[in-house]
Protein backbone atom coordinates (compact mmCIF):
# COMPACT_ATOMS: atom_id res chain seq x y z
CA UNK A 1 0.00 0.00 0.00
CA UNK A 2 1.29 3.50 -0.78
CA UNK A 3 2.45 5.69 2.05
CA UNK A 4 2.68 9.44 2.29
CA UNK A 5 5.67 10.49 4.36
CA UNK A 6 5.58 13.83 6.17
CA UNK A 7 8.89 15.16 7.53
CA UNK A 8 8.73 17.83 10.22
CA UNK A 9 11.79 19.66 11.59
CA UNK A 10 12.21 22.28 14.31
CA UNK A 11 12.66 25.72 12.73
CA UNK A 12 16.34 26.60 12.24
CA UNK A 13 16.12 29.54 14.67
CA UNK A 14 14.51 27.41 17.40
CA UNK A 15 16.88 25.74 19.82
CA UNK A 16 16.53 21.94 19.58
CA UNK A 17 17.35 20.54 23.05
CA UNK A 18 16.87 16.90 21.95
CA UNK A 19 19.18 17.27 18.97
CA UNK A 20 21.75 19.01 21.14
CA UNK A 21 21.71 16.11 23.63
CA UNK A 22 22.16 13.58 20.83
CA UNK A 23 24.96 15.67 19.31
CA UNK A 24 26.78 15.79 22.63
CA UNK A 25 26.48 11.99 23.00
CA UNK A 26 28.14 11.15 19.68
CA UNK A 27 31.76 11.94 20.68
CA UNK A 28 31.22 9.95 23.88
CA UNK A 29 30.75 6.78 21.80
CA UNK A 30 33.68 7.64 19.58
CA UNK A 31 31.82 9.15 16.62
CA UNK A 32 33.48 12.40 15.57
CA UNK A 33 33.11 14.90 12.79
CA UNK A 34 29.53 16.06 13.16
CA UNK A 35 29.21 19.66 14.30
CA UNK A 36 25.44 19.60 14.90
CA UNK A 37 22.48 17.23 15.22
CA UNK A 38 18.88 18.33 14.79
CA UNK A 39 16.04 15.98 15.61
CA UNK A 40 12.74 16.03 13.76
CA UNK A 41 9.71 13.83 13.22
CA UNK A 42 8.68 11.52 10.41
CA UNK A 43 5.01 10.61 9.95
CA UNK A 44 3.90 7.75 7.68
CA UNK A 45 0.31 8.02 6.47
CA UNK A 46 -0.79 4.75 4.88
CA UNK A 47 -3.25 5.30 2.03
CA UNK A 48 -6.15 2.98 1.27
CA UNK A 49 -6.01 2.82 -2.51
CA UNK A 50 -4.49 5.33 -4.88
CA UNK A 51 -2.65 8.52 -3.98
CA UNK A 52 -4.73 11.09 -5.83
CA UNK A 53 -4.17 14.86 -5.79
CA UNK A 54 -7.04 15.00 -3.29
CA UNK A 55 -5.37 12.53 -0.92
CA UNK A 56 -2.10 14.41 -1.21
CA UNK A 57 -3.87 17.68 -0.46
CA UNK A 58 -5.45 16.11 2.64
CA UNK A 59 -2.01 14.93 3.77
CA UNK A 60 -0.62 18.45 3.30
CA UNK A 61 -3.48 19.88 5.34
CA UNK A 62 -2.82 17.31 8.08
CA UNK A 63 0.86 18.25 8.00
CA UNK A 64 0.15 21.97 8.41
CA UNK A 65 -2.63 21.73 11.01
CA UNK A 66 -2.01 18.77 13.30
CA UNK A 67 1.37 17.18 12.53
CA UNK A 68 3.34 20.41 12.90
CA UNK A 69 3.11 23.69 14.79
CA UNK A 70 4.17 26.52 12.44
CA UNK A 71 5.41 28.58 15.38
CA UNK A 72 8.23 26.13 16.13
CA UNK A 73 8.34 23.65 13.24
CA UNK A 74 8.55 23.47 9.44
CA UNK A 75 7.05 20.79 7.22
CA UNK A 76 10.14 20.08 5.13
CA UNK A 77 8.75 17.37 2.84
CA UNK A 78 5.54 15.56 1.91
CA UNK A 79 6.47 12.62 -0.32
CA UNK A 80 4.83 9.45 -1.64
CA UNK A 81 6.51 6.09 -1.12
CA UNK A 82 5.62 2.65 -2.47
CA UNK A 83 3.08 3.90 -5.01
Amino acid sequence: MPTIVVDVMPKPEILDPQGKAVGAALPRIGIEGFSQVRQGKRFELTVDGEVTEEVLAAARTAAETLLSNPVIEDVVAVTVEGA
Partner: protein, 234 residues
Protein backbone atom coordinates in the same frame (compact mmCIF):
# COMPACT_ATOMS: atom_id res chain seq x y z
CA UNK B 1 -24.81 35.22 43.08
CA UNK B 2 -22.07 32.59 42.99
CA UNK B 3 -19.68 32.61 40.05
CA UNK B 4 -19.54 29.36 38.07
CA UNK B 5 -16.06 28.41 36.87
CA UNK B 6 -15.67 25.45 34.54
CA UNK B 7 -12.70 23.09 34.80
CA UNK B 8 -12.07 21.06 31.66
CA UNK B 9 -10.95 17.43 31.75
CA UNK B 10 -9.24 15.91 28.70
CA UNK B 11 -8.01 12.31 28.56
CA UNK B 12 -4.68 12.59 30.37
CA UNK B 13 -5.49 15.72 32.39
CA UNK B 14 -4.02 15.46 35.90
CA UNK B 15 -4.78 18.64 37.82
CA UNK B 16 -8.50 19.06 37.21
CA UNK B 17 -9.43 18.11 40.77
CA UNK B 18 -6.90 20.47 42.30
CA UNK B 19 -8.11 23.25 39.99
CA UNK B 20 -11.73 22.58 41.00
CA UNK B 21 -10.72 22.62 44.65
CA UNK B 22 -8.94 25.96 44.17
CA UNK B 23 -12.08 27.38 42.55
CA UNK B 24 -14.19 26.25 45.51
CA UNK B 25 -11.71 27.55 48.11
CA UNK B 26 -11.76 30.90 46.34
CA UNK B 27 -15.53 31.02 46.72
CA UNK B 28 -16.95 29.98 43.36
CA UNK B 29 -18.78 26.91 42.14
CA UNK B 30 -16.52 24.51 40.22
CA UNK B 31 -18.26 23.02 37.18
CA UNK B 32 -16.63 19.93 35.67
CA UNK B 33 -16.53 20.10 31.86
CA UNK B 34 -15.72 17.08 29.70
CA UNK B 35 -13.58 17.57 26.58
CA UNK B 36 -16.25 16.09 24.34
CA UNK B 37 -19.04 18.28 25.74
CA UNK B 38 -21.02 20.38 23.29
CA UNK B 39 -22.01 23.01 25.83
CA UNK B 40 -20.13 25.14 28.35
CA UNK B 41 -22.96 24.60 30.85
CA UNK B 42 -23.44 28.38 31.39
CA UNK B 43 -20.10 28.83 33.14
CA UNK B 44 -18.74 32.36 33.66
CA UNK B 45 -15.07 31.41 33.26
CA UNK B 46 -12.97 28.38 32.31
CA UNK B 47 -9.78 26.83 33.67
CA UNK B 48 -7.73 24.53 31.41
CA UNK B 49 -5.73 22.53 33.95
CA UNK B 50 -2.37 20.83 33.74
CA UNK B 51 -1.46 17.27 32.85
CA UNK B 52 -0.59 15.39 29.70
CA UNK B 53 -3.64 15.59 27.43
CA UNK B 54 -3.66 12.68 24.96
CA UNK B 55 -0.27 11.73 26.40
CA UNK B 56 1.34 14.82 24.80
CA UNK B 57 2.83 12.33 22.32
CA UNK B 58 2.63 14.62 19.30
CA UNK B 59 3.23 17.99 21.00
CA UNK B 60 1.85 19.25 24.29
CA UNK B 61 -1.77 20.27 23.72
CA UNK B 62 -1.64 19.52 19.98
CA UNK B 63 -4.45 16.97 19.94
CA UNK B 64 -6.53 18.46 22.76
CA UNK B 65 -6.91 21.69 20.78
CA UNK B 66 -9.22 19.82 18.39
CA UNK B 67 -11.52 18.59 21.19
CA UNK B 68 -15.16 19.63 20.63
CA UNK B 69 -15.23 21.87 23.70
CA UNK B 70 -12.30 23.96 22.46
CA UNK B 71 -14.39 25.61 19.70
CA UNK B 72 -16.82 26.78 22.37
CA UNK B 73 -14.00 28.03 24.59
CA UNK B 74 -12.33 29.92 21.73
CA UNK B 75 -15.65 31.62 20.87
CA UNK B 76 -16.31 32.49 24.52
CA UNK B 77 -12.76 33.81 24.95
CA UNK B 78 -13.20 36.08 21.93
CA UNK B 79 -16.38 37.31 23.62
CA UNK B 80 -14.40 38.25 26.74
CA UNK B 81 -14.91 35.24 29.02
CA UNK B 82 -11.99 34.76 31.44
CA UNK B 83 -9.90 31.70 30.48
CA UNK B 84 -6.90 30.49 32.49
CA UNK B 85 -4.52 27.88 31.05
CA UNK B 86 -2.13 26.27 33.52
CA UNK B 87 0.88 24.26 32.25
CA UNK B 88 -0.69 21.86 29.71
CA UNK B 89 -3.58 24.34 29.57
CA UNK B 90 -1.11 27.11 28.60
CA UNK B 91 0.39 24.86 25.92
CA UNK B 92 -3.15 24.21 24.69
CA UNK B 93 -3.93 27.96 24.51
CA UNK B 94 -0.91 28.47 22.25
CA UNK B 95 -1.81 25.49 20.03
CA UNK B 96 -5.32 26.89 19.60
CA UNK B 97 -3.85 30.37 18.87
CA UNK B 98 -5.55 32.21 21.73
CA UNK B 99 -2.02 33.08 22.90
CA UNK B 100 1.11 33.52 20.75
CA UNK B 101 4.31 31.47 20.87
CA UNK B 102 4.79 27.87 21.89
CA UNK B 103 6.48 25.63 24.44
CA UNK B 104 9.39 23.29 23.67
CA UNK B 105 11.38 20.88 25.81
CA UNK B 106 13.23 22.43 28.78
CA UNK B 107 16.73 23.57 27.76
CA UNK B 108 18.30 21.20 30.33
CA UNK B 109 16.06 18.30 29.12
CA UNK B 110 14.98 17.34 32.64
CA UNK B 111 11.56 17.24 34.20
CA UNK B 112 11.61 19.98 36.82
CA UNK B 113 9.48 20.09 39.97
CA UNK B 114 10.07 22.88 42.48
CA UNK B 115 8.59 25.82 44.32
CA UNK B 116 9.14 28.67 41.85
CA UNK B 117 9.17 32.40 42.44
CA UNK B 118 7.66 34.59 39.77
CA UNK B 119 6.88 38.28 39.46
CA UNK B 120 3.42 39.61 38.64
CA UNK B 121 4.25 41.83 35.66
CA UNK B 122 0.63 42.64 34.81
CA UNK B 123 -1.84 42.99 37.69
CA UNK B 124 -4.67 44.05 35.38
CA UNK B 125 -5.61 40.77 33.72
CA UNK B 126 -8.84 38.98 34.63
CA UNK B 127 -6.78 36.53 36.72
CA UNK B 128 -4.33 38.91 38.46
CA UNK B 129 -6.23 41.96 39.77
CA UNK B 130 -5.93 40.77 43.37
CA UNK B 131 -2.12 40.95 43.15
CA UNK B 132 0.05 44.05 43.32
CA UNK B 133 1.99 45.07 40.22
CA UNK B 134 5.55 43.77 40.67
CA UNK B 135 4.63 41.43 43.53
CA UNK B 136 6.72 38.24 43.85
CA UNK B 137 4.79 35.03 44.49
CA UNK B 138 5.91 31.43 45.02
CA UNK B 139 3.92 28.55 43.54
CA UNK B 140 4.84 25.03 42.37
CA UNK B 141 6.26 24.42 38.91
CA UNK B 142 6.42 20.97 37.29
CA UNK B 143 7.01 20.30 33.63
CA UNK B 144 9.30 18.95 30.95
CA UNK B 145 8.07 21.00 27.99
CA UNK B 146 8.08 24.39 29.67
CA UNK B 147 10.48 26.45 27.57
CA UNK B 148 8.47 29.36 26.18
CA UNK B 149 9.57 30.37 22.68
CA UNK B 150 8.39 32.95 20.16
CA UNK B 151 10.11 35.03 17.48
CA UNK B 152 11.71 38.32 18.52
CA UNK B 153 8.99 40.37 16.86
CA UNK B 154 6.31 38.62 18.93
CA UNK B 155 8.38 38.90 22.12
CA UNK B 156 8.94 42.64 21.54
CA UNK B 157 5.23 43.10 20.94
CA UNK B 158 4.33 41.20 24.13
CA UNK B 159 6.76 43.34 26.14
CA UNK B 160 5.56 46.62 24.59
CA UNK B 161 1.91 45.83 25.27
CA UNK B 162 2.50 44.67 28.86
CA UNK B 163 1.39 41.18 27.93
CA UNK B 164 4.22 39.38 29.70
CA UNK B 165 2.05 38.68 32.74
CA UNK B 166 4.56 36.66 34.81
CA UNK B 167 8.35 36.41 34.79
CA UNK B 168 10.57 33.90 36.58
CA UNK B 169 12.60 35.40 39.42
CA UNK B 170 15.95 34.09 40.67
CA UNK B 171 16.24 31.16 38.28
CA UNK B 172 14.82 30.50 34.84
CA UNK B 173 13.78 26.84 35.24
CA UNK B 174 13.41 25.91 31.57
CA UNK B 175 15.24 28.38 29.32
CA UNK B 176 12.10 30.37 28.49
CA UNK B 177 12.76 33.44 26.32
CA UNK B 178 13.14 36.58 28.43
CA UNK B 179 12.31 34.58 31.60
CA UNK B 180 8.65 34.49 30.59
CA UNK B 181 6.51 32.33 32.89
CA UNK B 182 3.15 33.38 31.48
CA UNK B 183 1.40 35.79 29.12
CA UNK B 184 -2.00 37.30 28.41
CA UNK B 185 -3.97 38.26 25.30
CA UNK B 186 -4.60 41.92 24.32
CA UNK B 187 -7.86 42.06 26.23
CA UNK B 188 -6.46 40.49 29.41
CA UNK B 189 -9.16 37.83 29.74
CA UNK B 190 -7.05 34.92 28.45
CA UNK B 191 -4.03 34.10 30.62
CA UNK B 192 -1.60 31.19 30.39
CA UNK B 193 1.33 30.23 32.59
CA UNK B 194 3.52 27.20 33.23
CA UNK B 195 3.63 27.28 37.07
CA UNK B 196 0.65 25.96 39.04
CA UNK B 197 -1.36 28.45 41.15
CA UNK B 198 -3.97 25.76 41.93
CA UNK B 199 -1.38 23.86 44.02
CA UNK B 200 -0.86 26.84 46.36
CA UNK B 201 -4.30 27.65 47.71
CA UNK B 202 -4.64 26.01 51.13
CA UNK B 203 -2.38 26.14 54.23
CA UNK B 204 -0.84 22.73 54.80
CA UNK B 205 -0.75 21.74 51.13
CA UNK B 206 1.19 24.50 49.38
CA UNK B 207 4.84 25.51 49.00
CA UNK B 208 6.87 26.48 52.06
CA UNK B 209 6.13 30.02 53.18
CA UNK B 210 7.81 32.45 55.54
CA UNK B 211 5.28 31.53 58.25
CA UNK B 212 5.46 27.73 58.12
CA UNK B 213 6.29 24.73 55.94
CA UNK B 214 3.79 24.04 53.14
CA UNK B 215 1.69 27.04 54.11
CA UNK B 216 2.10 29.06 50.91
CA UNK B 217 -1.20 30.15 49.38
CA UNK B 218 0.13 32.60 46.79
CA UNK B 219 -1.93 30.95 44.03
CA UNK B 220 -5.36 31.63 45.50
CA UNK B 221 -5.59 35.22 44.22
CA UNK B 222 -5.71 33.97 40.59
CA UNK B 223 -9.11 32.56 41.36
CA UNK B 224 -10.36 35.34 43.67
CA UNK B 225 -9.32 37.87 40.96
CA UNK B 226 -11.52 36.16 38.38
CA UNK B 227 -14.43 35.81 40.81
CA UNK B 228 -14.26 39.47 41.85
CA UNK B 229 -14.23 40.54 38.21
CA UNK B 230 -17.20 38.31 37.38
CA UNK B 231 -19.25 39.54 40.32
CA UNK B 232 -18.45 43.17 39.47
CA UNK B 233 -19.81 42.77 35.95
CA UNK B 234 -22.77 40.55 36.89
Amino acid sequence: MTARIGVVTFPGTLDDRDAARAVRLAGAEAVPLWHAAESLDDVDAVVLPGGFSYGDYLRAGAIARFAPIMDLIVDAAHGGMPVLGICNGFQLLTEVHLLPGSMIKNDHLHFVCRDQTLRIENAETAWTTEYRQGEDITIPLKNQDGQYVADDYTLDQLEAEGRVAFRYVGWNPNGSRRDIAGITNERGNVVGLMPHPEHAVEPGFGPDSREAGRHGTDGLAFFTSAIKGLLATA
